[in-house]
């Protein structure tokens, strides 16, 4: 490698680091703002790469502590290795882990064969709503990103839900200069989105730099890997030979397939994701 080439690569590394620092700083700022403004906070942890990376930044924001409970909405249909990964990390990082499951709907035989919209609403949205109602959470951290799909692109960082859990995306208050709207009425819980401004690529570059542990399903079994994790019946892997974080970053640089192509609920019918989300889906 020539001297100039070496210099160029070294500079690129510094630039990337500065860039990731900027994303991380913004997320830390949002976490601290929420922690200052809300009494009863919880973080939704899907065990996926996004919320795991977000959890990592939370530890930075609070100097190694995570001063609120982690909530996992367990549909009981998740991949078993996700649950193993969850319990291992919860122990290592000393997390206050709580799970929410819609036992009633499961007892009545809810599953995707009854309709994906109905299943997501019952096992995810309703389970979350029940947990929020019973625990009295006022602020919920969610690891959604604007680049995931259209309706998430419209989100604010602090986004209120009314008593019926609805999201009024047509009349959102302005959010400027990091002066967030945190003083909503008591009926509402507020969704807080600390990594809204990150992209899928940013997340993987950050996971690489920080050496954050992620669930093994993201890595190729030789022919396939999962790019987005969900429930077993509605989650399909994509063809991939990427077995390391570096290889995933290289693969993403080439791909033209959207991240959530392997998530069946997004493609069931027109505007499905928007309808799910306006009812309170994540």
């Amino acid at each position: 490698m020539s001297k100039t080439e070496e210099k160029r690569l070294a500079q690129a590394e510094i630039d990337e680091s500065t860039y990731l620092d900027a994303l991380e700083n913004q997320t830390i700022y949002i976490f601290r703002e929420a922690y200052r403004r809300f009494e009863d906070l919880a973080m939704l942890w899907s065990i996926g790469k996004d919320s795991t990376a977000m959890l990592w930044v939370a530890r930075k924001a609070f100097f190694g502590h995570v001063p609120f409970p982690l909530v996992h909405i367990d549909t009981t249909k998740k991949h078993p290795v996700m649950i193993e990964f969850r319990d291992k990390i919860a122990k290592e990082w000393n997390l206050d882990l709580r799970t929410g499951t819609n036992e009633k709907a499961l007892a009545e035989g809810m599953g995707p064969e009854k309709g994906r919209f109905e299943c997501c609403t019952a096992l995810k949205t309703n389970a979350l709503q029940h947990l929020i109602d019973t625990q009295g959470y006022k602020g919920i951290f969610l690891g959604i990103r604007r680049d995931e799909e259209g309706s998430r692109a419209k989100e604010r960082v602090f986004s209120p839900r009314d008593r019926n859990f609805q999201w009024n995306f047509k009349d959102q208050p302005p959010e400027l200069w990091d002066q967030f709207n945190t003083a909503y009425g008591v009926d509402t819980h507020v969704r807080i989105h600390p990594i809204l401004h990150w992209t899928e690529m940013d997340i993987w570059r950050y996971i690489k730099r920080e050496r954050i542990p992620v669930c093994s399903l993201y890595f190729s079994n030789g022919t396939h890997r999962f790019r987005s994790l969900g429930c077993v019946p509605c989650n399909s892997p994509l063809e991939s030979t990427a077995t390391t974080v570096d290889e995933i970053v290289a693969e993403l640089a080439r791909t033209t397939t959207p991240e959530r192509a392997g998530r069946a609920q997004d493609h069931e019918k027109a505007y499905m994701m928007q309808k799910l989300r306006s009812l309170g889906y994540m």
Binding site: N25, P173, P174, L176, W177
Partner: protein, 530 residues
């Protein structure tokens, strides 16, 4: 039309954040769609989805649908919310913030534009400059966005008529000048047909400037405020691990281990023992943008919302704010009413003492002096009295601590910038003029023209600067009159700095540090006309 090869950026340069503004139906979403299409940024799946929707509606491919991903928007064909999407050039990534054009969606436009590094102002070649063209440009000026590309769209409908293009650009540029904005580029385009977006048009042989993408590549990201005075608004105080950490984001300047600091408005003084950024517990310094925890030599009682600054370089503790405000509430802003007031991490309550001017943002005419109300989407100059003092700078000195929001019924309804501040004892905030040794590098001396400063001044100089001026190195200054000059005289007297002066019709001419007044080399003292 062939589909270009997709390219996702591997560039490590941060994405440049662009906001696209302009009057409704002048082609904002179409421009974005075209940029995405021509750079290969539309994923195959989304492209197919939009194509099938359009086919079902029996219309040609609508680029605007790319941005307008929500159901309601498709039905109304108007962008409602600010959406962010990305594309890349060979140079770097872009984050496009689509700003809606409808009048009632002003708040979304402001939300989008407040995060932008640069703006594209799009004007319909047929319609020319319209109300929202001006209104949006005014908001850009108010938000401090100085990199603006002006583009004239729909020229395919005008046979790419150069005369019409020149007329529209000249109207636009004239308005921009009147609000203190300069267009970096003027570009003739057809967003629908793809002329001069990414590919150079065959229809504009009279135009030799850049395409939209080339112009974007020539812009630079908004600079971090590391050269401004050090400020860290305290976001919170954590008492964990037997340690008290004052946490916050350094908004400007640099804070170092060992620095003597003062908190405003409480006035508490301490010294930085360590800078904590878990898992690293002792950083030597933190610069603008960094979120850190500060551990002090002595524990002081500081509330969230106070500002930590270097001793003797503090912001003002203000009780009265004079500002320019844009109002986004459906209920008008009214004199005598109290609103939540937020600046940095501080909260207070502000009473509207006066609306000095109610301004029409599309004509810049003052609609009313000493108005009672400011209606939705109006702009005005206001005086606010604060219930408890907050630390603040003027926007000119430090934008991050010179902008505020007003809160009504729990949500942000107005945004403004600080023009002037009144301190607790009723005095106007003084403008601080810093003299440092960098000003002495020019052997022929340096001219500092302060004739624009009519109010109170405070002169602050570094030790090295004093040493060298006392040793005979020179600096020339100009003042408007006795009041600002008086501040200088006090400073020179207190610091044993020799100076000479001459009174002219245009103001006061000063040679500071000069061994002798009126020497041959005293080129800056030659009087007016230089």
């Amino acid at each position: 039309m062939s589909t270009p090869a997709p390219q996702q950026t591997m560039s490590t340069e941060p994405a440049l954040r662009i906001v696209i503004v302009g009057h409704v139906d002048h082609g904002k979403s179409t421009l974005i769609g075209r940029l995405f299409y021509d750079t290969g940024a539309i994923p195959a799946e989304r492209y197919a989805e939009i194509e099938s929707t359009c086919r079902a509606q029996g219309r040609p491919f609508e680029f605007a649908y790319l941005m307008d991903a929500l159901q309601e928007e498709r039905e109304q064909n108007v962008t409602i919310e600010t959406t962010q999407t990305r594309f890349s050039s060979k140079r770097r990534g872009y984050l496009i913030i689509d700003a809606p054009g409808h009048k009632e969606f002003m708040k979304n436009m402001v939300t989008g534009a407040s995060e932008a590094d640069a703006a594209i102002l799009i004007v319909d070649g047929e319609e020319g400059v319209r109300e929202q063209t001006k209104r949006h440009a005014y908001v850009l000026a108010l938000l401090g966005i100085s990199q603006v590309i002006v583009t004239v769209n729909k020229l395919d409908r005008l046979d790419f008529d150069r005369v019409r293009y020149d007329q529209v650009t000249s109207d636009t540029v004239r308005f921009l000048h009147s609000i203190g904005l300069n267009a970096k580029f003027l570009i003739p385009i057809s967003a629908r047909a793809g002329d001069n977006i990414v590919n150079r048009s065959q229809n504009t042989d009279w135009y030799h400037g850049p395409t939209i993408l080339e112009a974007l590549d020539a812009l630079s990201p908004a600079a971090l405020d590391s050269k401004r005075p050090a400020r860290m608004p305290v976001q919170d105080v954590y008492k964990w691990d037997d340690t008290r950490r004052y946490v916050g984001r350094v908004e400007s300047g640099t804070i170092k281990r060992g620095d003597k600091v003062r908190f405003l408005p409480s006035g508490h003084v301490s010294q930085v023992r360590s800078i904590d950024r878990w898992p690293i517990s002792d950083l030597p310094l933190a610069t603008a943008g960094a979120c850190v925890g500060i551990i002090l030599e002595s524990e002081v009682y500081v509330e969230p919302g106070e500002v930590m600054a270097l001793l003797h370089h503090e912001p003002a503790a203000a009780v009265e704010v004079h500002g320019s405000l844009f109002w986004m509430g459906r209920k008008p802003l009214s004199v005598g009413t109290r609103y939540g007031f937020k600046i940095g991490t501080a909260d207070s309550v502000a009473e509207v003492v006066a609306i000095e001017e109610r301004i029409d943002p599309s004509t810049l005419e003052v609609r009313e002096r000493y108005a009672e109300r400011l209606k939705e989407s109006e702009v005005g100059r206001v005086i606010l009295r604060l219930e408890k003092p907050v630390a603040a700078d003027t926007f000119e000195v430090n934008p991050k601590l010179g902008r505020f929001v007003l809160v009504d019924e729990g949500v942000v309804r107005g945004g403004g910038i600080v023009r002037a501040l009144s301190l607790e004892d009723g005095a106007r905030a003084r403008r601080i003029i810093r003299l440092d040794e960098r000003l002495l590098v020019d052997p022929s001396g340096v001219l500092i023209d302060l004739r624009g400063e009519k109010g109170e001044l405070e002169i602050v100089a570094g030790d090295k600067f004093l040493e060298r001026t006392r040793a005979g190195e020179r600096i020339a200054l100009r003042f408007a009159g006795m009041r600002p000059f008086g501040a200088f005289v006090n400073w020179a007297y207190e610091n044993f700095v020799p100076f000479s002066f001459r009174r002219e019709k245009e103001g006061v001419w000063v040679s500071c540090g000069a061994p002798e007044f009126g020497s041959q080399s005293d080129q800056y003292l030659d009087g007016p006309g230089i």
